[in-house]
Amino acid sequence: MNPLLISRYTATSCLGRGIGPMRDALAAGRSGLKPCDFDGVALETWIGEVAGTDAEVLSSPLHGFDCRNNRLAQIGFEQDGFADAVRDAMSRYGADRIGVFLGTSTAGILETELAYQRREPASGALPAGFNYAFNYAGSHNPFSVAAFVQAAFGLTGPANVVSSACSSSAKVFASARRMIEAGLIDAAIVGGVDSLCLTTLYGFASLELTSRRACRPFDLGRDGISIGEAAAFALLERVSEPLADDAILLLGVGESSDAYHMSSPHPEGLGARRAMEIALAAAGLEPGDIDYINLHGTATPSNDSAESKAVRALFGASTACSSTKGATGHTLGAAGGVEAVIAALALRDGFLPGSPNTCNPEPDMNYLLASRPAPVRRVLSNSFGFGGTNCSLVIGRAQ
């Protein structure tokens, strides 16, 4: 594929707002996870919460989009000069030539869950009163986050949400790449926003996929995920010469489906392996060209087992790899975007991220427990989801 320039990127997670705190936490091996104290949830589990999300205020023209997910989106795109970069791109290309493709798994479902707790006793209707009026389009519908971002910037080009569970915000890079290649747009805002809600906290607990402690990806004693929330954004444009040496490029995308099971990955990781192979082929690279793999690494026994088999089969045991979900938690529909930003930081600053909380990693892999400085030119980032949906990205430096 023709490489694309990732001209600006930002991520906000439990590690902090923007890429500065994220980079510092990753370099120091610090986790942002904490015991769950979210909104009366009585589950023994850990979460990655973005502090101050409830206090974020949307400006009055955007009030119809108010929900935790869109507050988190706004916190996210206001970091690292991302909003200014979007406005600059609008002045260069036009508001109708910039696409918006964002991943989310649950959008603003939290507001629906809360509305169900406040149904009118007699009729069972959702609340429509002065203090709380239920708003389907602005919060419940998955598209609400893309509609919000379009409205916040005044963008009028193509837009959609990708909602393929935990691969969502990796697959948006594939959609944007095709739209740019087809000539329908000149640039795209991609990324993902997913926020804490009861459906995912209790749903993953019902499948016995949540850990009672902070998650330990790829640890031999791993016992489940820690759910996190995050907003990650990247601006994609065609490459125009000359490029700075540290320019960050999207070099390859690979997508596949397991065709195996709704909530378990293929045990041999065949779908995962195929996504990685296609991404490498799209980038014109061999496995040996990859300096670091940011694993999907959710810390469930079956996911990490399948992914370890796929990585060993394709890369052998020498390629440096880690999952950063011990630091951020599993941010579900935002995970692909968050980890694309982590890849960009590793490339820009020359370091290999470690894996907080993991002590006894899977054998026969070069699994990084601690972060360390190293030159990094090309990163492979994996995102796999429920329903057997897989996406791998190859991200690299210009030089």
Partner: protein, 269 residues
């Protein structure tokens, strides 16, 4: 915005599937849309396809049955191999009844969510069941653009065909919510359609389409009852295009998409 030009993404329509209220399949719907048969509105009849293993048939919710039925109809009609096809699933929402049951459970004191209900709640549930039913390991895109979800899926599938030069099966579908969500999202019944789009014409194709953005208003349907259906169920925003195909009428069709943009489709029969 100037609308479609020859450089815009295009594809051949090599298979069609359809299921909706009083619309049992594409040949039946085509006769009705062409004015050759009367439309007798009746509740959409949904069933889980036999290609699903027994456990998945039991667990499949309304949108899964709907999406798989129309997808399989389009593939079968085209004589294509479902296991080799890339897919685009586009829907305004997941399964409304499943969502209601989860929200109800979460409003109870014990907040017990069933594992099956949870995995059925993901927006890509239909895509996951499709893979299990057909063995398709090719990429599946899973999109949502509120009322414009059909047009969003059409654009995604068209750029797959034109950029990657592969066939792409678009499956657009929406089903009803129960109360109290229905008051907020009044989708009354289930409607789904599937278009198998190919870079080259199939043995028995339905014509060629090319699409781009426009600011023109969306087309309406001359028959008032059809236009009620078009506006009531997001996936039925496809009906102006399907009616043109059914009548074999070449021309430009404008479909609903976003608040500030529509999709203009140039159809050549």
């Amino acid at each position: 915005m100037t609308g479609p030009a020859p450089s815009l993404p295009g594809a051949w329509i090599s298979g069609i599937g359809l299921l909706g209220p009083g619309l049992r399949d594409w040949p039946g719907a085509a006769a009705i849309l062409a004015g050759d048969a009367p439309w007798l509105p009746a509740d959409t009849v949904l069933s889980a396809p036999e290609q699903l293993p027994a456990a998945e048939r039991r667990r499949s919710v309304r949108v899964v049955k709907l999406a798989l039925t129309v997808g399989l109809e389009a593939v079968t009609a085209a004589g294509a191999d479902a296991s080799s096809l890339a897919t685009v699933f586009s829907s305004s929402g997941g399964d409304g009844h499943n969502c209601h049951l989860i929200c109800e459970a979460l409003a109870c004191n014990d907040r017990q969510v069933s594992p099956t209900r949870f995995h059925n709640s993901v927006h890509n549930a239909a895509a996951g069941y499709w893979g299990i039913a057909t063995g398709a390991t090719a990429p599946a895109a899973v999109l949502c653009a509120f009322d414009g979800s059909f047009a969003a899926g059409l654009l995604e599938a068209l750029v797959q065909v034109s950029v990657d030069r592969v066939p792409s099966l678009l499956i657009a579908y929406d089903a009803d919510y129960p109360e109290p969500l229905r008051a907020a999202r009044p989708v009354p019944d289930a409607f789904g359609t599937a278009l198998l789009l190919t870079p080259e014409p199939g043995p028995a194709h339905f014509g060629h389409i090319r699409a781009g953005l426009t600011t023109a208003a969306a087309d309406t349907l001359a028959e008032p009852a059809f236009d009620v259906l078009r506006r009531a169920i997001p996936a039925a925003r496809s009906l102006p295009l399907l009616a043109a195909i059914a009548r074999g009428e070449s021309g430009r069709i404008v479909l609903d998409y976003l608040d500030h943009a529509r999709v203009a489709v140039d159809f050549t029969a």
